[in-house]
């Protein structure tokens, strides 16, 4: 309720700014326009002449005639080639002259019939994992886990997160993306499917559909882009590994030299920790991101987010028992990513440090008992590329829960005085920008019984290769 009012006030403020008159550029008189047209015509004539000159020079270079380069004389200075036909110039100079300037037969951007097909990218992942205890018996004491977070991985061979993505600009104002993946239980899952604006004024962006929430640094990335194969413990315990939901996201980027971005999301809320309540608008989030360059070699990105979800009769399974929760979940995430590369060139060597802190408060009824509880968690990781194609990484992650109030002894929410934690390391070898092999070792102490795992993995991308996020 409060959030709705807040949103309203906010929307009003934003609208006010949008509607307030924006200073135009200097007033342009008819005289100016005539002069500009004249200038453009001259430039175009010049351009045609330059092209002719270049062609001539190229022909000379190609021909076997032995004239020294030095003896070449420039082509005639007078514009003998008429300027290309011009579209109607009578309104403003903004009618695009670009089409007139470039001659398709000569240029480097050929158009083909297939050019309008969406970019198709395929990511293939395959993993062989060995755990010395059953990875499916993996409760995290003190936490009710979502259905994907109930295990440490898949024993043996699996193809994990293989997926297909289709993306393209829809028109001058919209971009669209669809990502289909193959979940381990079979079938096809729409991992992401959204449209996003590209040209709203004043730095606004609106995204709608299904997408990964912007509340966390790792959360926004696809799993195949993660350095480690699995989600850090706080993601696993509090977000069922990763939060993707249906809804709308609005972002606003400040017109400052330092990167500063504000965002808010209205989500359906049926993804853990919520269930679809409130008529299908059960979760909301707000976030702020800031970032910049310290110098040529160092850059950073910090973020702060708040996420709220309501659950109604949410059922979670913990090994043998089924738990029910009705109430609210309030989660705060603070994150920092720091990247270093000598002279800002990451090709030879680079270092990436990242850490995120999670704080959660839950309030409601758990298994028919009134419940208030607080949990925290964090992870810190470092990945160093020590030579082209080779990287190593180390990660530490942990979560901790109070025992809940009033008394949950012997139940899922009992922390058993245990702090779930894990130590991981990874070695990566890239065959190219498109292929990667990894070996990851985990010493997992999240359950009361520790479990060691070794994972061998390949992650490759075929076809269109989406640009990387920071």
């Amino acid at each position: 309720m409060k959030l709705k009012r807040t949103l309203g006030v906010c929307a009003f403020g934003v609208a006010l700014r949008v509607l307030s008159p924006v200073q135009a550029h200097a007033v342009v008189t008819d005289e100016d326009l005539a002069q500009i047209r004249q200038s453009i015509k001259q430039l175009e004539a010049q351009h045609a002449e330059d092209k002719k000159h270049i062609k001539e020079l190229e022909q000379r270079l190609k021909s076997s005639d032995s004239k020294a380069l030095a003896s070449q004389t420039p082509a005639s200075e007078s514009p003998t080639v008429p300027p290309p036909p011009k579209s109607d110039f009578s309104t403003t100079t903004a009618s695009t002259s670009s089409s007139a300037v470039s001659t398709p037969t000569q240029t480097g951007a050929p158009a083909s019939a297939g050019a309008f097909n969406p970019a198709i990218g395929v990511t293939l992942m395959g993993t062989y994992a060995h755990f010395n205890h059953d990875p499916n018996k993996a409760p995290v004491p003190g936490f009710a886990l979502g259905k994907d977070a109930n295990n440490l991985g898949t024993q043996g061979f699996s193809i994990g997160e293989s997926e297909v993505s289709l993306s393209a600009n829809i028109d001058q104002a919209l971009y669209g993306q669809l990502v289909l993946s193959h979940p381990s239980e079979g079938g096809v899952d729409v991992e992401e499917g959204f449209i996003q604006t590209t040209s709203l004024p004043l730095g606004f962006t609106v995204k709608a559909g299904r997408f990964f929430s912007g509340i966390g640094y790792l959360n926004e990335q696809h799993q195949h882009a993660w350095d480690f194969l699995d989600a850090p413990l706080p993601y696993r315990a509090m977000l069922n590994n990763q939060l993707g939901d249906d809804g709308v996201q609005i972002r606003w980027t400040a017109p400052t030299d330092m990167f500063l971005q504000f965002g808010m999301e209205g989500l359906r809320g049926d993804k853990f920790p919520g269930t679809s309540t409130n008529g299908g608008m059960g979760a909301q989030s707000v976030f702020v991101k800031a970032g910049g360059d310290v110098n040529e070699s160092n850059s950073w990105l910090a973020s702060l987010a708040y996420y709220h979800a309501d659950a109604q009769d949410r059922q979670t399974t913990n090994d043998t028992t089924i738990d029910t929760f009705t109430g609210s979940s309030d989660l705060g995430i603070a994150g920092l990513v720091w990247k270093w590369a000598p002279n800002g060139n990451p090709v030879q060597r680079n270092l990436k440090l990242q850490s995120e802190f999670f704080f959660r408060h839950e309030n409601g009824i758990f298994d028919n008992l009134a419940y208030r509880g607080d949990q925290t968690g964090f992870y810190g990781q470092a990945v160093y590329q020590f030579m082209p194609r080779w990287s190593i990484g180390a990660r530490y992650d942990q979560v901790s829960a109070d025992d809940g109030q009033p008394d949950f002894t012997g139940m899922t929410l009992d922390s058993l005085d245990h702090t779930p934690r894990r130590y991981s390391s990874v070695l990566m070898y890239d065959t190219s920008e498109f292929g990667r092999f990894r070996i990851q070792y985990n010493y997992d102490d999240s359950a009361t019984q520790s479990n060691q795992g070794v994972m061998f993995n390949y992650t490759v991308s075929l076809g269109a290769h989406g640009a990387h996020q920071y």
Partner: protein, 303 residues
């Protein structure tokens, strides 16, 4: 409560920072050579931000927050195109969500769109290494390519900033005159290079080689973007024993080890060329870039 605070902050930042309309046209140049060209043509009428440096591999720039922030306020994005920036610019453009510089709008400019492209592959296969469908994008190694690009930029600047159209025209004409004279000078100086056999580290010099009529005998990368193995370097060594080369050229940002290995094992001088503005101390602007490039090459072929 904190929601309200954040909202208040959002609205107030909107009001206080978005209002003053800057006089200068903000140009977001993907590479230093286009930043330098924009300064030549735009002068004081433009404010240029360069997204990468001469010490960075233009294929491998990261979509850093600072780039997104600068793209957010840009009036014109000036890039090479031809897929050179495919690994980072799409993310910058999408995240900045600045309608003025989206592809297709007057504020988005690709230099490669007015240059005759070389090395356009007949068929595309990533087994061939880092190939670009539109052709070799490293067009800035031939000064002739700057003539049509300068013209394209001047026309586009006049279109998005009509108030300064006359300035752009004047500065463009002055630049072209100066540039043509400089090309003459470089070509005179480079006369001894004609036909000289050389090795290249990466296939990013095709425009330079064709301009100065240098002969590429071998590349130190087995495929574009694939670092050489010791086995492949042995092949290169065998090849330069049969057909000797005067030097190996590489860009500042590239790994110096393969060319130095060849220097030690075959006595082939390793020459580091600036590749773009800022790639060497002397390459302070476009003129310095080619002064230094030609100078280094001529020194390299001298016996």
């Amino acid at each position: 409560m904190n929601k309200l605070l954040i909202c208040a902050a959002l609205v107030s930042v909107l009001f206080f920072t978005a209002s003053p309309v800057k006089a200068a046209i903000n140009i977001f140049a993907c590479e230093p050579e286009w930043g330098a060209l924009a300064t030549e043509i735009g002068g004081d009428a433009v404010s240029v931000y360069v997204a990468s440096t001469g010490r960075q591999d233009p294929h491998q720039i990261q979509a850093r927050p600072s780039l997104i922030a600068r793209a957010r306020s840009a009036d014109l994005a000036f890039c090479t195109g031809a897929e050179l920036e495919v690994g980072w610019m799409p993310v910058v453009l999408r995240q900045a969500a600045n309608g003025k510089i989206q592809p297709g709008s007057p504020g988005y400019l690709e230099a490669a769109s007015v240059v005759r492209m070389k090395d356009v592959p007949q068929h595309l296969d990533r087994a061939e290494g880092d190939v670009h469908a539109a052709g070799n994008p490293h067009i800035q190694t031939d000064p002739h390519n700057f003539l049509p690009v300068a013209n394209l930029l001047a026309v586009r600047l006049a279109e998005i900033d009509p108030a300064n159209a006359a300035t752009y025209k004047t500065r463009h004409d002055a630049f072209i005159t100066k540039w043509k004279a400089a090309i003459q000078k470089w070509e005179t100086e480079a006369a001894p290079l004609k036909g000289a056999p050389i090795a290249v580290q990466h296939k990013n010099w095709i425009y330079l080689l064709d301009w100065l009529q240098l002969k590429e005998i071998v590349a130190l990368e087995p495929k574009p973007g694939v670092p050489p193995s010791s086995g492949y370097l042995a092949e290169v060594l065998a090849k330069v024993k049969v057909s000797p080369v005067k030097m190996t050229i590489r860009a500042t940002y590239e790994d110096e080890r393969p060319s130095q290995w060849l220097q030690q094992n075959a006595g082939v001088p390793a020459v580091e060329l600036p590749f773009t503005v800022g790639g060497s101390d002397k390459a302070k602007d476009l003129f310095g870039l080619f002064d230094d490039t030609v100078d280094q090459l001529v020194k390299g072929v001298r016996p």
